[in-house]
């Protein structure tokens, strides 16, 4: 929309006129484009800035009408409330953050340990109906979580995995394995198979060749893939909210969502908890920014 309007306005005269007029037109256009980009950037970033601002405002200023943009008192009380219980000791939120670290961490390790060898095998060997298998694997990732959670709930109830960290770890690993395989297959494809062949001519077995020559080259790819799996598990909400209930097991997303349950909501606390929750994700995402396209498309699109 914005593009076509911009085009229609500025190219009309430029097409028919002499070069000087054209240059002037293009400069005006350039200014317009920068202005448009700035406006869009402000709109996109404002909610994030507003969240950070709310998290350091005193409660009085959080609910001020009209909203206070600059002249508010800075306080770190909300951040203290995220970690410390008003009655002393650790807060329920901080426990949920720890749970999130454990669940996301272990499920990522599991998905990596299962996914990386599978990706290597799919890349290197002639597997029967390879394409179909790979498509099947990726389509399991597209299943609607709300649908999957119904039978999973019944299944977990049978084996006692409801409200259990292991239950969450298993389901997150299952959701991250398809991603890991697709993402890692791209990385393995980039390592020439000749390295392994040469090693095998030197007398190494296939497995040794993989471990000693290919695997070290894959480490950056594995790190990037694991970071994405970590982010997916960390942000996940549906399974977490339906499969866990007690404070000792619950991960951060349902715990933060639980803050708005009652009649009044402490929005300062919600904002502070959200900032604490989102910060590691942003840092990690920045670290893997080179692989962002492959990461967010589940390894399907590569550049």
């Amino acid at each position: 929309m914005a593009v076509s309007v911009d085009e229609a306005v500025s190219t009309g005269p430029a097409r028919d006129h002499t070069p000087p007029a054209r240059r002037l037109g293009s400069r005006g256009r350039s200014v317009l484009e920068v202005a448009l980009l700035t406006v869009l950037a402000v709109v996109m970033l404002f909610p994030v800035l507003w969240m950070i601002e709310t998290s350091i405002k005193e409660n009085r200023d959080v609910y001020a009408i009209p909203a206070k943009f600059f002249d508010f008192k800075v306080t770190l009380d909300h951040y203290k409330d995220v970690f410390v219980d008003p009655g002393g000791g650790r807060s329920a939120l901080s426990v949920s953050f720890l749970n999130s670290v454990v669940v996301a961490g272990v499920s990522t390790v599991l998905a990596t340990v299962l996914g990386v060898p599978a990706a290597w095998a799919y890349s290197r060997f002639a597997v029967k109906a390879k394409k179909d298998q790979l498509f099947f694997i990726l389509s399991t990732r597209f299943m609607p979580p709300v649908v999957v959670v119904i039978p999973i709930f019944l299944m977990y109830r049978q084996v006692g995995l409801i409200d259990n960290k292991l239950g969450l770890i298993l389901i997150y690993a299952a959701f991250n394995v398809p991603f890991t395989i697709w993402m890692m297959k791209g990385f393995v494809d980039e390592v020439p198979a000749e390295y392994e062949d040469a090693a095998m001519l030197d007398g190494y077995t296939r497995l040794q060749a993989f471990r000693r020559f290919t695997l070290p080259l894959l480490v950056p790819g594995i790190a990037a893939t694991a970071v994405f799996a970590l982010i997916f598990s960390w942000n996940e909400f549906v399974f977490a909210t339906f499969l866990t209930s007690s404070d000792d097991v619950r991960t951060a997303p349902p715990a933060i969502a639980g803050l708005i349950g009652g009649t009044t909501t402490d929005w300062g606390l919600v904002a502070a908890a959200s900032v604490v929750f989102a910060l590691p994700v942003l840092v990690f995402a920045y670290l893997v920014r080179k692989h962002l396209i492959a990461g967010v498309t589940l390894g399907a699109v590569r550049r």
């Binding site: 060997f125 609607p144 999973i152 690993a173 001519l201 549906v238 933060i256 995402a285 962002l292």
Partner: protein, 316 residues
């Protein structure tokens, strides 16, 4: 992907021909064993956690089982399916989901491509701009939903506050039927425009510069260049992003749950959210399973289209 497949599969054979035949054959055999040993653990996990639950849901969908009532499940065969497909409630939810998917994905595509186009024309600060624009995409839907709920609050929300200072009236964003669905679309657009932008930008930066230079020599207009060079070359990649987003939007649940909880009334209930209500508030597990299976069928069709197209693009 596909062009490397013949390469890698031929390789062991070629190597084997260079070495004595006996070890070659045994190595090939062990290759197969290795492939099975490396692939099967991952597939087993998927079978246990994805396929088996779906098969169970398929079984339940033919019964009147209820998770709370317990007791034996009686077969009702296609009763659940006919009930769902003829239910006016379900039709309403399907329409809501359709409006939401088309509205949100459409807006994201236009805005995302627009931003990507503007960024691709900058020579300085591209990296910084891209990084800044990508922030919303990385946030959890919980954080996004909660935060927009606060900003769109009718009383002390910052959006109404800004509208007020501009002299405009207050809007009850999340508590009026029409604006609630609109708010949902806006919030989803805010979060996922960066996704389209990221992929469109990849397509735009891959367009060879000499095409534009050649067009400039012919004194082609900017619009002509955009229409005949930029759009056709970026379109295939953009379509992938759009299809991906459409599948994701179709199964949307968490944002609805947090932002509006389906309300007011049922105006923002998507299909996913309705399944949740049938299963976890109505406790009609059998009906919810049938509902879910129908949704899975739609997702499978969409995914197949998406993967076929992806594959065609990679081969082409």
């Amino acid at each position: 992907m596909s062009d490397s497949v013949p390469l890698t599969t031929d390789r062991p054979g070629q190597v084997a021909s260079a070495t004595p035949p006996a070890p070659g054959r045994s190595r090939r055999l062990s290759d197969r064993g290795l492939a099975v040993a490396f692939i099967s653990p991952a597939l087993l996990l998927l079978l246990a956690m994805s396929v088996f639950p779906l098969l169970w849901a398929l079984y339940l969908s033919f019964t009147d089982y209820s998770a709370t009532r317990g007791g034996p499940a009686n077969f009702v065969w296609f009763g659940n399916y006919t009930a769902i497909l003829t239910s006016a409630q379900v039709h309403t939810r399907a329409l809501t989901t359709l409006i939401y998917v088309v509205g949100a994905v459409g807006l994201q595509t236009v805005l995302g491509f627009g931003i990507a186009y503007l960024i691709s024309r900058r020579t300085h600060g591209r990296g910084v701009l891209t990084t800044l624009f990508l922030v919303p995409m990385m946030l959890s839907p919980v954080v996004v939903g909660l935060f927009w709920r606060f900003m769109l609050d009718a009383q002390f929300g910052v959006v109404n506050s800004m509208l007020g200072s501009l002299g405009l009236g207050q809007v009850e964003w999340l508590t009026r039927q029409r604006t609630a669905l609109l708010s949902l679309i806006v919030v989803d657009t805010w979060q996922w425009t960066p996704f389209i932008m990221l992929i469109a930008l990849a397509g735009l930066t891959a367009v060879p510069k000499y095409l534009y230079e050649a067009a400039s020599i012919d004194r082609a207009s900017e619009w002509f260049k955009f229409r005949t060079i930029t759009l056709p070359l970026v379109w295939p990649l953009l379509l992938i992003a759009v299809m991906f987003r459409a599948i994701e939007a179709f199964r949307l649940f968490d944002l609805v749950y947090i932002l509006t909880n389906g309300g007011p009334g049922v105006s923002t209930e998507t299909l996913s959210f309705h399944i949740y209500k049938v299963a976890f508030l109505g406790f009609n597990t059998g009906t919810a399973s049938a509902y879910g299976i129908l949704m899975v069928l739609v997702v499978i069709v969409l995914t197949q289209l998406y993967l076929r197209y992806l594959n065609k693009l990679k081969e082409g």
